[in-house]
Structure formats: structure tokens, C-alpha cells
Assembly symmetry: C2
Homo-oligomer: 465 residues x 2
């Protein structure tokens, strides 16, 4: 039977959308619960963004140590304990998950561990876990169950020879060789990570470029850098005929009419995500879907009144920061705190080395839209800070309206690219021009000067190139 | 006798003001020369910002390697070759100086090595170096001779026991102990650097806090961090009675009515700068001065028509990026390319670890101005990226107009603080509000989220604290 207390909001899912939405409702003084079937923080915090960043930090450090001689530093017998690298990553995830639980308490969010189902508008039940069988009344429901890794049909994910990133994040044994299927952000991050620790990496992408959503020039630069690092890359290539044996996996790589067999100890598939909808909705609750994602309006409401959705469950771009923004915006809207806003502009980051980041249009998109655009580019080889840090690979590229200087898109590859994109993010949000960025004094010596110089370059006024 | 060609502009000094001004004039198609008495790039590039960043990179790496065990990485026998650390730094300076010479060529700037003197309005002579005795006619003169290190009166700077940062940057012998007089940016960077390599460091500051221009809370946090790192700090303390011996230097530290003697192998003085005016002006050329700096108007013109000045030579804040901006703005003005603008808003950075950066008003200044202000703060312990990188010391602090949310100042201490300040710089330049920063989606997981969360915190809407 239903619990007698009625919630103002029940959030289903405790990831970046769910926990942020629940906390925001708590901040607004609402009676709110968050039901999460695994651990607070969701995929991002437990099996995605956060633990991978911990792994990549170890990889970066290992690479830097190997180059320490040029900095006047000597080390002997550099080695690593891969299990400890993985263990630290799990520890970071645990620490952050506890942080979210603390925030739930602080903001008076009832945190319920269990699998939730929308029984009806205004009613949520728990179908698995210790609270199984409980029903909760609520004025509003926010579905934020996110996505899970998409799997290659017909292939058994045994967690030993075949994995998604999820299993790889718990795998304490470094493979001697790996085939990574899919060269999106997750694929390239794992390619960099494994390669940094000495694994023979084959990276396969069906589309013509790695990091397919990124600017072509950025993708080409990363491609060259990865090859220099020792990663074998196959673009325009499909994987067929997976054969999983006791010691490894064999796959046929098909490019045009060429077929090559590759073999590795491990196959990691990183071919995107699918919506977490299994068991989410009782049979009579049928919100409108779009390609299996929940369809929402400008206020994040589904086709059923009082049932909202935000984050990966409403479809692309499947980014944690977009999910958080959507959920907070949705909750603000539900409780009359400002008008909800659908997301148009957002940055994307990939944390391999060199890092890449972007926001807005690629040059190709600007061309396809037949925009009258200009490009400003500044290489990190011309940045004093980058040279002093011996980190001068890459460049900043900005695409602007040829007439007004408004920024259509910005693309960065290089050290700290993922931090540098924030300034362009704000600039685009504020509809600032490259002239305004150029007229803003940037601290010397910083990499952020390259953000300014790329803007200046689009005006023909960069000093250092 | 005067060379027959007349220049549109002669720039005296090849530092961040001088070389940028000269290059800008070249870009505008003007006939321009830059006369520099040492090496292109000036103090910043040869004896300041750039070589110190190279040193600090080695120090950071050495510190990180010592902590690598926690990242799952083992190293044995970590050691360093201090001479090689210094040598790399000199190499970086040389590389960047050559870069400036390349830019001179590319932009058709005549680069003349020698000491220049303003003989008269429209006439510059070379008084030292291979071009000694030559006179050059020019329509405009831009003086950008910068500053040199201030010295403690009566103390002999022998480059062995007593140094400024200039000599320290060429000193290939790591001192066992050092007394650093002055805890501004240069003093604290050297304190961090020497301490990182095992030198016993005593840092002495006359004023009540280290990094005196920074926000009190930031200074306190850095003070605690430095003490934890093993640096001995004396604030509110004067140095008296310097005794330089063959093996070291003894100094009396005077705090109130207490006097303590300290001794070290090396004394590094970092007590500010003085204007480079010696021999700069012929006897009959007397532009108005202000505390020994050249006084300029809004167009950077001195009291003598056709003689302009920019950079450190016109007084504080003695920052390379401000100098560059001023010189470019001045040159644009001279040649009718936009209205020159005097600098009001600029960032400041200090590259010790934790790094610090700031722009705009400190909280104390906001209080003194009796502004109705709010503070938003976000600690890096609550940042997923910082925790994943094991770099969670410090915080972001933003000071805003309590009513409008306009940003009065921003202050950051922590990893990559010097890069993160750029976004606040743009925000202040564009008179953006904290609400606008809060509404801008920042990539997850990045440290730049802390910039957004501090903004949100000032509105009571931060999710992660």
C-alpha cells in the first residue's frame, strides 16, 4: 500500500540528472525522495566520468615520469601496479558517491535504494531491493534513469574477454592487447589509457574519423598523435564475425572490400548507449517515446502530466553536465522558480592526452549550413606557458561569423583543453564576439592566452603567430 | 648622423610591451624598429615569467613523482640534477626569444640590439652596442624599457650569496638554505621552487600577509599550505643588519620588538622593481614623471608629443599581460586603429603549488569601499575532477554585487587556478552576472565547474556543497 506521506517530487535515478534534481528540490524546501537502484551518483560518478578520470590521472603521471629526464629529474625502475591503479579509481568513485549521500542528507532528500517503477501519475513503487513492494505518493515524478552501454548483438559480454567500459572499470588485470570497438569519447579514453600502460591497442571506428562528433581537424590531429603514441587505428571500418576463445577474441575488420583478422586478449565495446527503460513504467503508463527515449516538452514534461524526464533518458547528447542542467532546470520549473530552458549550447570533453574539447559548430557544420564564417587558429607551440611546460601539442580553433565576430564554435586539442573550453562556453552563452575576447586581458603566461590569440587570429591581430 | 630612412615608430625595449607594440605596428603596415639592449623578449621572457614557469614545471613534476605511489606507480631512486633543471629553463627562454625574433622578421620589424636613448622628439640614438653612435629619425617613439629588480640599499648583490631573481635564474647550484626577502609573486614562486627541491626556505614579508595584493583568505590558505610543505614564514617582519660571509648570509628578523637572527647559504631579494630610466633620455628631453615612472595620458602619450610609453615603465601593476595590452592599445591609437584604452581590469597569477589567481576586488577592498557585496565560495574537495586528480586543495571565491550579481572580484587557489581565472576575466570584462555564469553549462568533470558552482553558491544554488 502507498506510504501516507505525499512527496512533492520523487526522482527516479540518482545520477547527475537525478541527484542534482533532487538536491535542487531540497534546496527549494520541497519534500523530495530519490530512488536509485545501485549507488548514488549513477553511471557518471560510479562507472563513467569520475573513475575514468582517476585512471587517466595515473596514466598521465606514468607517461610524465617516463619523460622526466628532460625536466632534470631521474628515476629508476618505473613500474606500476595495475590493480592499485584500478583500486584508486574505485576509491575515488566511493568517496564521491558518499559525497552525494551526504548532500542528500544535508538537503533533506529521502534517499531510497531500490528499483523504482512509475505505477501511475502520482504514484511510484519499488519493485526490487529492501523496499520492494512499497508505494509512494507524489505530486511530481522526475524520471532520470539514464542509459546503459549498448551491446553488440549476439556477443556475450562475459566480463573477461568481452567488456563494456563498465566491466573494464572493475577489471584489475591489464590486458596485453585490446580491440576497442568505437572511437567516441569512451573508446579513445580507454585507448589512451591502456596504451599508456603498454597494452597493444587496436581502435576501430565505423565512421570516417575518430571522435566523430568533433571538428575534422581536431580528429585528424588526435589521430596522428595516437598513432605516434603507438595506437593502431582503423576508421571507416566495421567489425564482423566475433570469435571469443579462452585466451582472446578474434574479429574481422572490414574496410570497403578488404577484410583483415585481428586478435587481442580483450575486446572492449564502446558503441554508444541505450535508454534505461526496462521495468520503469507500469503497463498502463505510456508516455510518448521517441526512438526509445522519453519525449519531453520545453518544461521537460512527458506526454503525461506530472511526469517529467531529464538527462540521458530523453536522448542525446548523453552528457553528465547537460543532464544536471536539464534536471535542475526542470525542477526549478516545476516549483515555479524560473522558466525551464532546453539545452542548446554545451561543451564536450575527451580526457585522453592530448585532451580535446569543443562547443558549438564544427567547421564542417558551418560549411554545410552555408554560413559566412571565419576561422581563427593558434598553435600551442607559440604559447610560452605550453613551451615552458613541454606540453605544446595541439591548437585552439574558433569559428566565427565573418561579419559580426559572433562565435559559432570553438575546438581545442592540447594540454588542459577540457578546462580552457569554459571561457568559450561563457562567450557563446553571452553571445560575445571574438573582439570582446581579444580585448579581455588574459594572464601571462597561461594556456588561456591561446583562447584569446585564436580569437585575435580570426581578426588578423594575433601577436604571437 | 641620422639614418636617412624615417620610421613611423621606434620602440625602445623588446619585452612584452615593446615587442608586442612593434609587431602590432608591423601588422598595420608601418615602418617600425625595436631597439633592445639585451635579448628579444625582455625580462618576462628571458628572466621572469617564462624561465620561472619552466623551473616550476620541474618542481611540480618532482613533487608529483614523490607522491606517485598513491597513483599505483612505483619509482626507485628519484633524484634530480639541479644544473639540468636550470639548463632546461634557459633553453626554454632561448627558444621563446628566437620566436620573438622570428615574429619581428615576419612582421618586418627592424630589430636593433643596443641601448637606445631618446635624443629629441622624433630622434632616437644608440648609445651602447654595435650600432653605437647611430641616430634614427622617427615619427613616433614608444618607450617600453620596463623595470629591473629593486635592490636592498647598502647590500652587495654578488650573485653568489646575494641575488635577485635575475641571478637566481642563472644559478645552477641548489642552495642548502635560502632567506627570501619579500613574499610577492616572485618571492613565493622561488620559495615553493627551492623548497620543492629540498632547500630550507625562510620567507620574510614586511606586510601582514604573504602575497600582499591577494585576498586575505587566499593568502591565509597559501600560508598554511606553504607551512605544511615545510617553508618557514615570517610576516609583519623586517630584515635588518645583513651580514654577508664566505659561506652564507646572516640577517636579523625584526617583528615588533622581537629580533631573531637567521642564517642561510643564500639571500634572495624579491622586494619589487624600479623603472629602467638610466640613460634613457637625453638631458633636454624631460617628460613628466610620477614617482620615477613615465606619466602618460589615456592615449599612452607622455607629456612630450610623439613620445609614448607603455608597460612597467608607466608604473604598476608591473604585469607582462598588462604591458602587452597597453602597448598594442597605444600603437593602435597612434595609427588610428581604434581608441586607446587604459587598463582597469586584469588578472594576476602566482604559479606556486597551490596556484593562486585573481581579478578585480578583494573582499577587504569591497568592505573598505562599503559595497553591498555577497561572497560565493566553492571548495575543490567537492569537485569530482579535483578528487579524481588528487588535487583538491583550495577553493574558488567570487565577490558580487549583492543586488545585481555583477562580479566585483574573483579569487582562486588550487590546481590550475591560473587557467581558471580566464573565465571570470571575460565575465568581468563583459559585465556578466553570476547568474549568467551559473546558467552556462560547464563540462563535467572539470575544475571549471568550481567557477560555476562558486557563482551558484553566491546565489544559494550550488548543488555540490
Amino acid at each position: 500500500m502507498a506510504e501516507t506521506t505525499e512527496y512533492d517530487l520523487i526522482v527516479i535515478g540518482g545520477g547527475p540528472a537525478g541527484y542534482a534534481g533532487a538536491i535542487r528540490a531540497g534546496q527549494l524546501g520541497k519534500k523530495v525522495a530519490c530512488i536509485e537502484m545501485e549507488r548514488a551518483g549513477g553511471t557518471c560518478l560510479n562507472w563513467g566520468c569520475i573513475p575514468t578520470k582517476a585512471l587517466l590521472k595515473s596514466a598521465d603521471l606514468y607517461q610524465k615520469i617516463k619523460k622526466s629526464e628532460s625536466f632534470g629529474i631521474s628515476v629508476k625502475d618505473v613500474s606500476f601496479d595495475f590493480a592499485k591503479v584500478m583500486e584508486r579509481s574505485r576509491g575515488v568513485a566511493t568517496q564521491m558517491a558518499k559525497g552525494v549521500e551526504f548532500l542528500f542528507k544535508k538537503n533533506k532528500v529521502d534517499y531510497i535504494v531500490g528499483k523504482a517503477q512509475v505505477s501511475a501519475p502520482g504514484m511510484v513503487s519499488v519493485t526490487e531491493g529492501e523496499h520492494k513492494g512499497k508505494f509512494f505518493k507524489t505530486k511530481n515524478i522526475l524520471i532520470a534513469t539514464g542509459c546503459k552501454m549498448r551491446r553488440i548483438p549476439g556477443l556475450e559480454y562475459d566480463g573477461v574477454r568481452v567488456m563494456t567500459s563498465r566491466e573494464a572499470l572493475a577489471n584489475t588485470k591489464l590486458p596485453k592487447s585490446v580491440i576497442i570497438v568505437g572511437a567516441g569519447a569512451i573508446g579513445v579514453e580507454f585507448a589512451y589509457f591502456y596504451n599508456a600502460f603498454g597494452t597493444k591497442v587496436t581502435l576501430v571506428e565505423m565512421l570516417p574519423q575518430i571522435v566523430p562528433v568533433e571538428d575534422e581537424e581536431i580528429a585528424k590531429t588526435l589521430h596522428r598523435s595516437f598513432e605516434k603514441q603507438g595506437i593502431v587505428i582503423h576508421t571507416d571500418t566495421k567489425c564482423e564475425n566475433f570469435r571469443v576463445g579462452a585466451d582472446g577474441v578474434k574479429v574481422d575488420l572490414v574496410k570497403g572490400d578488404q577484410k583483415t583478422e585481428v586478435e587481442a586478449e580483450l575486446l572492449l565495446s564502446a558503441i554508444g548507449v541505450v535508454a534505461n527503460v526496462d521495468g520503469l513504467l507500469a503497463g498502463n503508463v505510456k508516455p510518448e517515446l521517441e526512438k526509445n527515449y522519453l519525449k519531453v516538452g520545453d518544461d521537460y514534461q512527458t506526454s503525461i502530466k506530472g511526469i517529467y524526464a531529464a538527462g540521458d533518458i530523453i536522448g542525446p547528447p548523453w552528457l553528465a553536465h547537460v543532464a544536471t542542467f536539464e534536471a535542475v532546470s526542470c525542477v526549478n520549473g516545476i516549483f515555479g522558480h524560473g522558466k525551464p530552458k532546453r539545452v542548446q549550447k554545451f561543451p564536450g570533453c575527451t580526457y585522453c592526452q592530448p585532451q580535446i574539447s569543443s562547443t558549438g559548430l564544427t567547421e564542417k557544420a558551418a560549411k554545410e549550413k552555408k554560413l559566412d564564417y571565419k576561422v581563427g587558429k593558434f598553435p600551442f607551440t607559440a604559447s610560452g606557458k605550453a613551451v615552458a611546460s613541454a606540453d605544446s601539442e595541439g591548437f585552439v580553433k574558433v569559428i566565427t561569423d565573418a561579419k559580426t565576430g559572433e562565435i559559432y564554435g570553438a575546438h581545442i586539442i592540447g594540454s588542459e583543453a577540457t578546462e580552457l573550453i569554459a571561457e568559450y562556453g561563457l562567450a557563446i552563452e553571452l553571445e560575445a564576439t571574438v573582439e570582446e575576447i581579444h580585448q579581455t586581458i588574459h594572464a601571462h603566461p597561461t594556456l588561456s592566452e591561446a583562447v584569446m590569440e585564436a580569437a585575435a587570429a580570426s581578426l588578423g591581430e594575433a601577436i604571437h603567430i
